[in-house]
């Protein structure tokens, strides 16, 4: 019995992951209603964003509230680059995403270098202020961003019946990238360094952990995924405005999903996103009312913080371990 359990422990998660991936790949082919695919698309986007946020906010313990700014930068970079070009077969805009992700990350490094002079709550303040800086820039640099009028991209020339599919698969690819990064970080010296930073940064520094480099690397990796997701989002909507592209709610959404699922775990952010994002999309689709999900966000947040501040997965894992110890 114990041996069989051990084998399950070893291969189970991998198999479950493969099955889940297969289900996600088949989903848009099996489902005919486009709005369901849209819900799937946004769920995957949030899962990728939450996993990316987790690299900084979860592993390193630096709760950035400014990630929506990098999402917006990616969105604007994509939209501005393609404004005066034709999208051709429609797949061109996807190929500009990697360079955009790297470019935004290059911008993010000096920002992080300054912001990471502060810790926890002050870091959160600095990053949320940065978010408003970028939003103000998007409003004010009219020559570049069109100000409040926004930027238009060419609409993707995909057939309406399967319009969502390419975007869906792009988001799925981003989620896989974010998960690969998380897995890589968890199983490397970088992960150890980040855990040390989260535990006690001063002590970690004093025993020779390259604290600064580790934090900046995690931040840059996280921003690459975030900015690319912004790019896909911009192309999908083909029209973006400052207040939606750089939205504090997007930041807080990432934080909520990570906290709900479990900070600093591989699957926690994905779990959180798969619970919150569909609910949010469904509310928006059914009632079209944003104030409802403001209230729902607020309530959910308070419940998570008070009932299971470490998140669902770590709490569950503890329960199971305790039950096994008793058995």
């Amino acid at each position: 019995m114990r041996r069989r359990l051990g084998r399950y422990r070893r291969y189970g998660p991998g198999l479950a992951g493969l099955a889940g991936l297969a289900a996600l790949v088949v989903f848009p082919l099996a489902v005919s209603a486009p709005w369901l695919v849209t819900v799937g698309l946004f769920t995957l986007m949030y899962a990728a964003l939450a996993s990316a946020w987790n690299l900084v906010g979860g592993y390193a313990g630096y709760p950035s509230l400014g990630h929506a700014a990098f999402f917006g930068m990616g969105a604007y970079a994509e939209a501005i680059w393609w404004t005066h070009r034709t999208a051709g077969s429609g797949y061109g805009p996807f190929w500009t995403l990697p360079p955009i992700g790297l470019a935004v990350a290059a911008v993010a490094v000096p920002v992080a270098w300054i912001a990471m002079r502060t810790r926890t709550d002050v870091f959160a303040i600095v990053t949320i202020t940065f978010l408003f800086v970028v939003q103000t820039l998007a409003f004010n640099l009219r020559g570049l961003t069109g100000g409040a009028q926004g930027v238009a991209m060419p609409v993707a020339p995909f057939t309406p019946a399967t319009f969502e599919r390419p975007f869906y698969y792009a988001m799925l690819a981003l989620l896989l990238l974010a998960l690969a990064m998380s897995y890589g970080v968890l199983h490397s010296r970088l992960g150890l360094a980040l855990t040390a930073v989260r535990g006690d940064e001063d002590k970690a520094r004093s025993v020779g952990v390259p604290v600064g480099a580790a934090k900046l690397t995690a931040f840059a990796l996280s921003v690459v995924v975030t900015a690319m997701a912004g790019g896909v989002w911009a192309y999908y909507l083909s029209f973006i405005y400052p207040q939606f592209a750089i939205d504090p709610l997007l930041s807080i959404g990432m934080v909520l999903m990570v906290f709900l699922g479990g900070r600093g775990t591989l699957w926690g952010p994905v779990l959180g996103a798969f619970v919150v994002a569909p609910a949010q999309q469904y509310l928006a689709y059914r009632f079209g009312a944003s104030q409802l999900y403001l209230l729902a966000y607020a309530a959910l947040f308070v419940v998570v913080m008070l009932v299971m501040p470490r998140g669902a997965l770590p709490t569950l894992r503890d329960r199971i371990r305790r039950a096994e110890a008793r058995a």
Binding site: V122, A124, L306
Partner: protein, 292 residues
């Protein structure tokens, strides 16, 4: 030159309003080491209540503070007692930050349900009147608001430095454990402190509603400005907050008058950046428990 002096006058008066808004933030941080992201939302909530009292029953916005302040006090104390007190101690700083953000979202959501998203301003008869002093315009409302800030801040200072409650608040700030050992009920002090911080938002909101137009989303504009003021002043220092608010008020007003109004918000961020690079503890702050 005339324009610059006019801008400085306006900036000082605006700075008074910022000082009022940020003093609650500072008090709450000082007492509980909680960065209250809901302070802006509390100000906007008070602005709406004051607006409703004025339009429904003709209550003067300055008088409405007397009605709203107790309500805000109760709300603030309830937030601290019900939501922040039970949080786990090991990362209370982070969790409480997120809980106050949730409170801000909740207030914004509730306001959107009740008032929808159109902009409004509280407009009593005297709102556009102004005095000319040596050729410079001084708006009556702004001047009265400045006076109200001085009164509120003075009252707050008296309360903190001259009363028994103030002494227990300061003791809680300096060393919660020692304060508890000496018989201060720190949990109750924290709730009262949070309530007091929220109550100052009542005065700030009534004034804000007359000087600016606002809607339920407006608290996002306030968050970053208030936080910049508080960080410049040095987290937790009431005097520093007032100085910082005046500096910020004048700076943004000058930028608005001499360059362009769209960039006046930017002066906040530039100052914040400079502070973080040069003097992360702010003008008057001491370095705090490894936060900076």
């Amino acid at each position: 030159m005339h324009e610059a002096v006019q801008a400085v006058i306006l900036g000082v008066l605006t700075g008074g309003v910022y000082a009022l808004m940020a003093s609650g933030q500072t008090l709450i941080f000082g007492v509980m080491k909680v960065v209250n992201l809901a302070q802006g939302a509390l100000v906007i909530l008070a602005a709406f209540l004051s607006h409703s009292l004025f339009t429904a029953w003709g209550v003067d916005p300055f008088l409405s503070v007397l009605i709203i302040a107790p309500l805000m006090f109760a709300l603030g104390a309830a937030v601290q007692w019900l939501l922040l007190r039970p949080l786990h101690q090991d990362d209370a700083a982070l969790l409480s930050l997120l809980v106050t953000f949730a409170v801000a979202l909740g207030i914004e959501g509730a306001l959107t349900v009740v008032y929808h998203t159109d902009y409004r301003t509280t407009r009593p008869a005297y709102v556009d009147r102004s005095w000319r002093i040596a050729g410079y315009q001084v708006g009556e409302v702004r001047l009265a608001a400045f006076a109200l800030s001085l009164i509120t801040l003075g009252g707050l200072w008296m309360l903190l430095s001259r009363t028994r409650f103030g002494r227990s608040v300061r003791a809680t700030v300096q060393n919660p454990v020692a304060a508890r050992l000496l018989g201060v009920e720190t949990a109750r002090v924290a709730a009262l402190g949070f309530g007091l911080g929220a109550a100052t938002a009542a005065a700030a909101g009534a004034v804000y509603g007359m000087v600016y137009s606002f809607n339920p989303n407006s608290h996002y504009d306030l968050i970053s400005r208030l936080l910049s003021v508080v960080i410049l002043g040095g987290l937790g220092s009431l005097g520093g907050t007032v100085v910082a608010a005046l500096v910020m008020g004048v700076a943004s007003s000058l930028v608005g008058a001499l360059a362009s109004p769209v960039w006046s918000d930017f002066s906040f961020f530039v100052v914040l950046l400079a502070v973080l690079l040069l003097r992360p503890q702010g003008l008057f702050g001491a370095r705090l428990r490894g936060a900076l």
